[in-house]
């Protein structure tokens, strides 16, 4: 049996990809805007952001906005795509079996 491979366009447009992206980015972005809006839901985004800043600082060791946000947004999108891909592949497998 071969593992089904969902097309990348479907993965990118998948509601699961978009929802995961929103979940990683939105709560953290709120907490970043205002510290009192930081919440437990922001924890995954918070951890990705901190990891991103370590990478950003290694590339450009100065405090700059993009240095912190670019790795975070890209990393969150990468993770969301992986989750979306997994979901779409699982859907295909289910429909094949059905």
């Amino acid at each position: 049996m071969t593992i089904p491979r969902p097309p990348i366009r479907r993965v990118l447009a998948s509601p699961v990809t978009l929802a995961t992206y929103a979940f990683l980015v939105v709560p953290f972005a709120l907490g970043w805007l205002r510290s009192s809006w930081m919440s437990p839901l922001a924890l995954p985004g918070y951890l990705i952001f901190v990891i991103g800043t370590v990478i950003g600082n290694a590339i450009a060791p100065r405090y700059e906005f993009w240095v912190y946000w670019a790795p975070f947004l890209a990393g969150s999108f990468g993770l969301a795509t992986v989750v979306g891909y997994g979901y779409e592949a699982w859907q295909d497998e289910r429909s094949n079996e059905g």
Binding site: V26, P27, L30, S35, S39
Partner: protein, 269 residues
């Protein structure tokens, strides 16, 4: 699809704010509330005076004498002029009411640096001007040291800000309590972590570190030369807005006063 993702983002937003409000550490009571209480009918004695008078560095020192005798604590803000949290909190502290002892505050220690919004004033980095075995290395440092010798404090607290996270961003110091060997640095860090750092911001937890006192920093010299129990409280601005950073700094400052007997928080000890 667009509408669905907008809806998802909306739900996440609302849920996020709600869970944040429900799980945040409460900040009612505690040493800050004690320090700020308004019944100033007592015999608290407040005065202020210029130090380094008639020099370009002239700045104001505030002295608050509690009705009961007790230790003297001296607090410095604005040793680095771009570290707003320490300046603002030290300014607030001039209205605080200690239960015992004397609170001495210099909110804008390097006033020129504060006015320029820069780390260093015209004499360079003030917090490197107190070398072991030597005189303070600038006119400003000598004036600050004179004030320290005059009050000969039991406790010294110097308020600072870092841009990064301790142990993560290696080019920055990060949030940390540096302290002299006799100080209660770990009790201070524990209190900060319990009271002001939410569990879901684990990398923002404070550590404490006993400092080698043979350095040129003010808090090191205060311990070395005057035997003061001393602290350098470094809060971080990383991811935090001004309110949050000031809250950390303010709580830390009040906790130091409590740990050393200037504040008596109800239900404590």
């Amino acid at each position: 699809m667009k509408r669905r993702s907008a809806l998802a983002a909306g739900c996440v937003t609302v849920g996020s704010i709600a869970t944040g409000a429900l799980t945040r550490p409460s900040s009612g009571g505690g040493p800050v509330a004690t320090a700020r209480r308004a019944d100033d009918s007592s015999d608290t004695d407040r005065r202020s005076e210029p130090i380094l008078e008639e020099t370009v560095h002239e700045t104001t020192l505030y002295e608050i004498d509690a009705p009961e005798s007790g230790p003297t604590a001296m607090v410095f803000g604005g040793i680095h002029g771009d570290e707003q949290n320490g300046i603002e909190v030290a300014q607030e502290m001039t209205d605080w009411q200690p239960d015992a002892g004397t609170l001495v505050v210099i909110p804008e220690t390097d006033r020129i640096a504060v006015e320029n919004g820069e780390r260093e004033g015209i004499d360079g980095d003030l917090n490197r001007h107190f070398p072991p075995g030597g005189e303070p290395q600038s006119e400003l440092a000598r004036g600050v040291w004179n004030a320290l010798e005059t009050y000969d404090p039991d406790v010294v607290l110097d308020l600072h800000r870092s841009l990064g996270i301790y142990g993560v961003h290696h080019q920055y110091v990060g949030q940390i309590v540096f302290h002299s060997p006799d100080a209660r640095g770990s009790a201070l860090a524990d209190a900060l972590n319990d009271e002001v750092i939410p569990w879901y911001m684990p990398l923002h937890r404070f550590r404490s570190s006993t400092s080698d006192i043979n350095g040129p920093l003010l808090f090191q010299a205060a311990n070395r030369e005057l035997g003061a129990t001393s602290y350098l409280l470094e809060s971080t601005s990383f991811v935090l807005d001004e309110d949050a950073m000031n809250r950390h700094t303010r709580f830390g400052a009040a906790k130091v006063l409590e740990l050393h007997g200037l504040l008596e928080t109800e239900g404590d000890e």
